[in-house]
């Protein structure tokens, strides 16, 4: 329709786009003005509008005709497809797989105790649990029960390595995590790890308490709303948790609630206020 263009009139392609709502507001007004003023343009539009049909409705039955059962069976049978139907049928509690996004330099376990822990983590079931805002805490609490004082004792102290790891976690989680910010009085930071849960980064910092065993500080970039610190108990562990600026925090360990709370408050003040 080059003649139409040359005359400054809407072409058929303009009119189709007008009918389909694909024109910018400026262009749409331009077409509308021509429609109001020009019988010829209106006739073109009518011709194009006549070509409309209930296409979507007409193609619905074809969708219903699809051999879904056969296709689903085909999909299940593909070697690279891992169906979760069998896993869903099981009523045993399941731990979602925490994917290793990046292995910190010293985040890889050292020592025999650490190897056992790594094997235990790999053995967990891969099914993702129901999504609820506190589900990640349930999962982490489950993992913390795997840690023992022996596991952490096997890891040599290396403050330089911890500082490097914290810098890495800071960058990935976009939360300032200096050695000062994350220090817990009387507890040595033994190792850190960056995992992912539900596609979002989850940072772990594990401390050794001589009395009660491992204490873990987690930062999870779940994007949820702010929440003041609260306490809960899971799997025999005490937890203090809060959210700020789209990051969820939890401090978890076997330590008594009365001892854990001041540690959590310290982190809360330094990291989030």
């Amino acid at each position: 329709m080059s003649d139409a263009e040359a005359l400054g009139r809407p072409s058929d392609t303009d009119l189709v786009a007008y009918l389909d709502g694909e024109l910018s507001p400026y262009r749409r007004d331009w077409v509308a003005a021509h429609l109001a003023a020009d019988d010829g343009v209106r006739a073109c539009l009518a011709r194009l509008a006549n070509g409309a049909r209930p296409f979507r409705e007409a193609f619905e039955p074809l969708l219903a005709q699809a051999p879904v059962a056969r296709l689903a069976t085909m999909l299940d049978g593909l070697p690279t497809y891992r169906p979760t139907r069998a896993e869903r049928r099981s009523s045993a509690p399941r731990w979602p797989r925490l994917g290793l996004v990046a292995a910190c330099a010293a985040g890889l376990f050292v020592g025999a105790g650490a190897d056992r822990l790594l094997v235990a983590m790999r053995a967990t079931v891969t099914e993702q649990a129901e999504e609820q805002p506190d589900e990640w805490r349930r999962v982490v609490a489950g993992y913390v029960t795997l840690y023992t004082p022996e596991t952490l004792a096997a890891i040599p102290d290396d403050s330089a390595a911890r500082r490097r790891e914290l810098a890495g976690l800071s960058a990935k989680l976009d939360v300032p995590l200096s050695a000062y910010d994350t220090a817990l009085p009387g507890l040595a930071l033994k190792w850190t790890q960056l995992l992912q849960y539900d596609g979002k980064p989850l940072g772990e910092m594990v401390y050794a308490d001589p009395q009660s065993g491992p204490v873990m500080l987690c930062v999870f970039a779940d994007g949820e709303a702010d929440a003041a610190p609260r306490q809960e108990r899971r799997n025999g562990l005490n937890i203090v948790y809060w959210s700020a600026k789209g990051r969820a925090f939890m401090l978890v360990g076997r330590m008594a609630e009365a001892d854990l709370r001041p540690l959590a408050d310290g982190i809360y003040r330094r990291l989030t206020l």
């Binding site: 189709v16 011709r47 509008a49 797989r97 994917g99």
Partner: protein, 181 residues
């Protein structure tokens, strides 16, 4: 280890099987070949699941894979575009036992669409049935947006000549788009 994007592909594949099959039927013109095409699409989608960007439109991504496989098959079999139009009755027409009026209308529309040239038919399907925007359709088809627009205009012209709704050109009211989003 399965990342979010791989999991999303795996879960999404099951949800999109019927839409993939329908698109495949439109492209290959046969129900059995359509199943083969869907299977090949699933295999490749799983192989390439690490390339999928979690959170983006999975259906568009799967359609692109399906189309790419179809195109390669087409080229290898040296079937030129526009040839080999299957009998509409055998391919697209609803297979119901009781033909009520709405089914007959649907069958009529399908026959008209089947009679269009392949490029117009596919473009029309993607935009007016699957609800792709012009831009998404252009990307999927590998053509400029202007080509999408002119194919739709040509399809509408052709269908308009066959009958259908008669507009009232004298009216000044704006015509709203009847396209699914």
């Amino acid at each position: 280890m399965m990342l979010a994007d791989q999991r999303e592909v795996r879960d999404g594949l099951a949800a999109y099987l019927s839409r993939l099959w329908r698109y495949a039927v439109l492209l290959v013109g046969r129900h059995d070949a359509a199943e083969d095409l869907v299977q090949a699409t699933c295999v490749r989608a799983l192989e390439r699941s690490h390339q999928f960007i979690a959170g983006s439109r999975l259906d568009r991504w799967l359609f692109a894979i399906l189309r790419s496989i179809w195109l390669n098959d087409l080229r290898s079999r040296r079937v030129r575009e526009g040839e080999g139009v299957e009998d509409a009755e055998a391919v697209l027409v609803y297979d119901g036992a009781a033909r009520i009026e709405t089914d007959m209308l649907a069958a009529q529309v399908l026959r008209e669409v089947q009679a269009l040239p392949q490029a117009q038919r596919e473009t029309l399907f993607l935009v007016y049935v699957e609800g792709l925007t012009y831009r998404e359709a252009a990307q999927l088809l590998g053509v400029p947006i202007g080509t999408v627009m002119s194919r739709l205009a040509s399809a509408r012209e052709r269908l308009g000549k066959l009958g259908g709704k008669l507009g009232a050109p004298a009216e000044q009211k704006s015509i709203s788009a009847a396209r699914p989003r």
